[in-house]
């Protein structure tokens, strides 16, 4: 199939960017979206042009590196699918496809479609962990965890930290990301001692990083490739309310 892509090109963090149109000819419907960009890049290189920079790594939907807003939707049109798992068969011959980076102040563009997501690491640093230095652990069976809680914690823990929630949120908020970690750790008995400080500190870090506020619009959950539900934000809010009432 033959398509056109309009891609955001920005040579560096402080340069101005623009959408540039490229023709991609004879691409297989079985190619993934990133493979389509690979093919385009090979042509660009041989023509002496600068290839498109984009983040990607595992290409199997788990590392969370790939991050393209395709026709205005983070990770593109397929539900619960990362960009790397999106295939060209979901587009039609002759389509014009817009490709942009995640856009958020807390995710500044480094080059083209590559953004800096260090702010997510900062949120985790603030409290997204259970303090358990190596060697201090009791036997794994010392504390049983109800299956229901373990399963729910797992669901929340499947977040891949890609940032699509922020990219989609009209407020540029990272609430779903933070809520997923609060929920994962808050459901485990091991996570209880730090539960209050965790939610307070992570929310503070999130605000400090320049993310917007949450207004429960739900765009985040719509684009989340792992299907993290919006309801987790309610859990975070509840934890936060309880935590500040104690402090």
């Amino acid at each position: 199939m033959d398509i056109k892509v309009r891609v955001w090109r920005q040579s560096g963090p402080s340069s101005a960017g623009q959408m540039v149109t490229y023709d991609v000819k004879d691409i297989s419907p079985d190619a993934s979206f990133l493979e389509m960009i690979d093919v385009l890049n090979e042509t660009l290189i041989l023509n002496g042009d600068d290839p498109i920079a984009f983040d990607h790594d595992c290409r199997e939907g788990i590392c969370g590196a790939c991050s393209m807003v395709i026709n205005g939707v983070a990770h593109g049109p397929e539900k619960a699918t990362t960009t790397c798992q999106l295939h060209m068969r979901h587009f039609k011959d002759g389509d014009v496809i817009d490709v942009e980076p995640w856009r958020a102040a807390a995710f500044p563009v480094i080059k083209d479609l590559v953004v800096d997501r260090t702010s997510f690491d900062k949120i985790i640093q603030a409290g997204g962990y259970i303090s358990a230095p190596t060697g201090t652990a009791p036997d794994a069976h010392a504390t049983p965890v109800p299956k229901k809680d373990a399963d729910a914690a797992f669901e929340a823990a499947t977040c891949i930290g890609c940032g699509a929630c922020v990219a989609a949120c009209p407020n540029g908020s990272s609430m779903l990301f933070t809520a997923a970690k609060i929920t994962h750790l808050g459901l485990m008995p091991q996570g209880q001692p730090e539960r209050d400080t965790r939610v307070i500190d992570m929310l503070q870090a999130q605000d400090d990083a320049g993310f917007g506020g949450c207004t429960n619009m739900g765009e985040c959950a719509e684009v989340c490739p792992k299907g993290i539900p919006l309801s987790l934000i309610g859990r975070l809010n509840s934890d936060y309310r309880k935590a500040i009432s104690k402090h």
């Binding site: 290409r59 590392c63 690491d121």
Partner: protein
């Protein structure tokens, strides 16, 4: 002696204790020197890589009080490729009361490695496996549980006991996030200096000791020299030498190879694991391969058409009597559940006979029609629903209606930098952990053992053994002007300059693809003297072409993904040659290494313990010289070599 290598002195593991295997680790820990907690703050350790091994090591060393500097090429330590591991992690907890024990895990791992691993290391691995589970649970890793709230276990990879802990099909992700979070905690506390999007391009050796690395900031292109008292490589495996593999696109051998070029021995490079159940290539655009859990073979039946002429027909039009369920035919007792290497080779054989299906004839069917008939669609969906979805997402075919197509793909590399019992390489102060070293899996790795080894090394082994080395520190402080530092930096700068100046007419990827094809063809599932000899010639020619015709666009002082790739491919070209030479020298079949010349009359792998019961540790001898082979004899005091049989 021969055209390809020189035989040197044997290499000996001086750190390994002798005596009863059960107490070796205890005795080693006791004999190792300790570092006073107050002195640890004065000691800096560089850790390259943030996967299960690197992440857990960085966190643990920082908790112990060392100053840690961590580097990864990804934008966040959480994205290291350990995240993609699906199946699970083994531990000799014996929670099922099914007769498991440390000794049994040790036994299975030595045997599974086809008697090419060190007993001491494997025993230690089995011992600390139990601590890993405790540690991960304490960190909040949401392992699968039973209704009583206790941890669930499953049997994995053909073992007869249930010792595999798992978190649905995302065990690697959950374990890595545990290590990542522990690491982020230490970053927040200021004990780890994290440098994401930084690539190690050279090792700095001063007075014979590893004292630092040269790194490139992948965002700005700035080259800096980083100093420490010890350097830990946790940079993963080298499966991407095949271009198409289940590794992440960024996985590379550069950190290990730079160390190898500076004197670290590289052991058993030819031991690669090929996984039988991957989604086949769909065309020339293919950039990587995706693994599907081996558990599919529990209910799926593998077949190809009996006649090559039927291969173009849709599967549904091929009558039952025209199908060849070849695994069930050749291995009646194990059938579709034969080990990975056997299943992989059998698939290659039928495809070589022209009976493969799908694009390029590189695929075999994995059919669930019988399972759906027997168990009902609902039951199949409950067991494999997510895998079927993944398959459909990638191929656009519905596996409930048409059989899946699968083909083997490179998945893991057992070889790596040679290390002693302390996980120290032949360069003092350079430690190597996780998939990057060669130590525990021998010629073949068992399922659910990669995660175990990565975390064992990072949480429990290295943090104990590195003290013995660091006790002699802090070492004299270094400056940018020191000759070895200047030289290492210059090596990096010159190489980048050279890559950018060639400005030829072929892309980096085109070279990588071609190298991958050579490796897959001649150093893949089946290797022969003739093929390997040919491959060495082809790789040498390709290497020469690379250095004259590669086109790397852009500058060095910016984010330049092609420059990154070019440096990695240049190293893969050298590694590929060494892999072929290693495969050539090992005239036996063992584990992931199958030599066509060494098989039983029915086509099974044939080991030659009398000649090859050693680890082959190679010394670098210049890009165009011959590598030197140093043998480390393997002694089996507990598990005596026997022959596998799955008939």
């Amino acid at each position: 002696m021969n055209d390809f290598w020189i035989e040197g002195e044997p290499v000996v593991d001086k750190a390994a204790p002798d005596g009863p295997v059960e107490t070796r680790w205890e005795r080693r820990k006791f004999a190792a020197k300790l570092v006073n907690p107050a002195n640890r703050r004065k000691l800096t350790v560089i850790v390259v890589g943030t996967g299960l091994a690197g992440g857990s090591a960085a966190a643990t060393l920082a908790e112990a009080g060392y100053r840690v500097k961590s580097y990864c090429y990804q934008d966040s330590p959480r994205r290291a490729h350990s995240i993609a591991a699906q199946g699970g992690i083994n531990a000799a907890k014996n929670y099922r009361n099914d007769g498991d024990s440390v000794y049994r895990l040790f036994y299975d791992t030595v045997k599974g490695g086809d008697f090419r691993a060190r007993e001491s290391n494997v025993y230690r691995l089995a011992q600390v496996s139990v601590n890993i589970i405790d540690q991960c649970v304490a960190q909040g890793v949401p392992f699968a549980r039973e209704y009583g709230g206790l941890l669930d276990n499953r049997s994995f990879g053909g073992t007869q006991v249930s010792r595999t802990f798992y978190a649905r099909g995302q065990t690697g992700q959950q374990l890595l996030l545990g290590a990542y979070q522990a690491m982020e905690r230490q970053i927040g506390l200021g004990n780890i200096e994290m440098n994401a999007r930084h690539e190690m391009l050279e090792l700095i050796i001063v007075d014979g000791k590893a004292r630092g690395i040269v790194v490139r900031d992948m965002v700005t292109g700035e080259i800096t020299t980083e100093f420490a008292d010890a350097v830990v490589l946790a940079s993963g495996g080298y499966g991407n030498v095949f271009f198409l593999s289940t590794n992440a696109k960024g996985c590379n051998v550069t950190a290990s190879w730079r160390a190898h070029r500076k004197g670290a021995l590289f052991a058993n490079p030819c031991y690669t694991q090929i996984h039988p159940t991957c989604i086949p290539e769909s065309g020339s655009h293919q950039s990587k391969l995706t693994l599907m859990s081996e558990s599919l073979r529990n209910d799926g039946r593998v077949w190809v058409p009996k006649r090559a002429a039927d291969c173009q027909k849709p599967a549904a039009e091929i009558a039952e009597e025209d199908r060849d369920y070849y695994l069930e035919r050749i291995y009646p007792s194990f059938g579709n559940l034969v080990p990975r290497d056997i299943a992989s080779r059998a698939a290659k054989n039928v495809c070589d006979e022209g009976r493969g299906v799908g694009p390029g004839g590189l695929g075999v069917y994995l059919d669930f029609a019988d399972a759906i008939k027997r168990l009902g669609r609902k039951a199949v969906e409950a067991k494999y629903g997510n895998l079927f979805e993944m398959y459909e997402r990638i191929t656009g075919e519905d596996p409930y209606a048409t059989p899946m197509r699968i083909y083997p793909a490179v998945h893991y590399t057992m070889g790596g930098l040679w290390v002693d019992y302390d996980l120290q390489s032949t360069i003092p102060g350079l430690f190597v952990i996780g998939e990057a070293n060669f130590s525990d899996h021998g010629a073949n790795r068992l399922g659910a053992s990669a995660l175990m080894q990565g975390l064992a090394d990072g949480y429990f082994v290295l943090p104990n053994t590195i003290n013995n080395y660091l006790a002699a520190g802090p070492f004299p402080s270094l400056s940018e002007q020191d000759a070895p530092v200047v030289e290492a930096r210059k090596q990096v700068e010159d190489r980048i300059k050279k890559l950018l100046e060639i400005n030829g007419d072929r892309t980096v990827d085109s070279f990588h693809r071609e190298l991958g094809q050579i490796m897959w063809e001649y150093c893949g599932m089946e290797r022969s003297e003739e093929g390997l000899t040919k491959a060495v010639g082809l790789i040498r020619a390709l290497k020469e072409e690379f250095w004259t015709r590669v086109k790397v666009p852009g500058k060095g002082e910016e984010l330049n993904q092609n420059l990154e790739k070019a440096g990695r491919v240049a190293d893969f070209l050298e590694l590929g040659e060494l892999m072929c030479i290693d495969a050539l020298h090992r005239r036996e079949s063992c584990g992931g290494h199958f030599r066509a010349e060494s098989q039983t009359p029915d086509g099974e792998a044939l080991r030659h313990d009398d000649e090859f019961s050693y680890a082959a540790a190679w010394e670098y001898f210049g890009a165009d010289g011959k590598p030197t082979l140093h043998k480390e004899e393997l002694n089996f005091e507990y598990v005596h070599p026997s022959t596998r049989s799955y008939k």
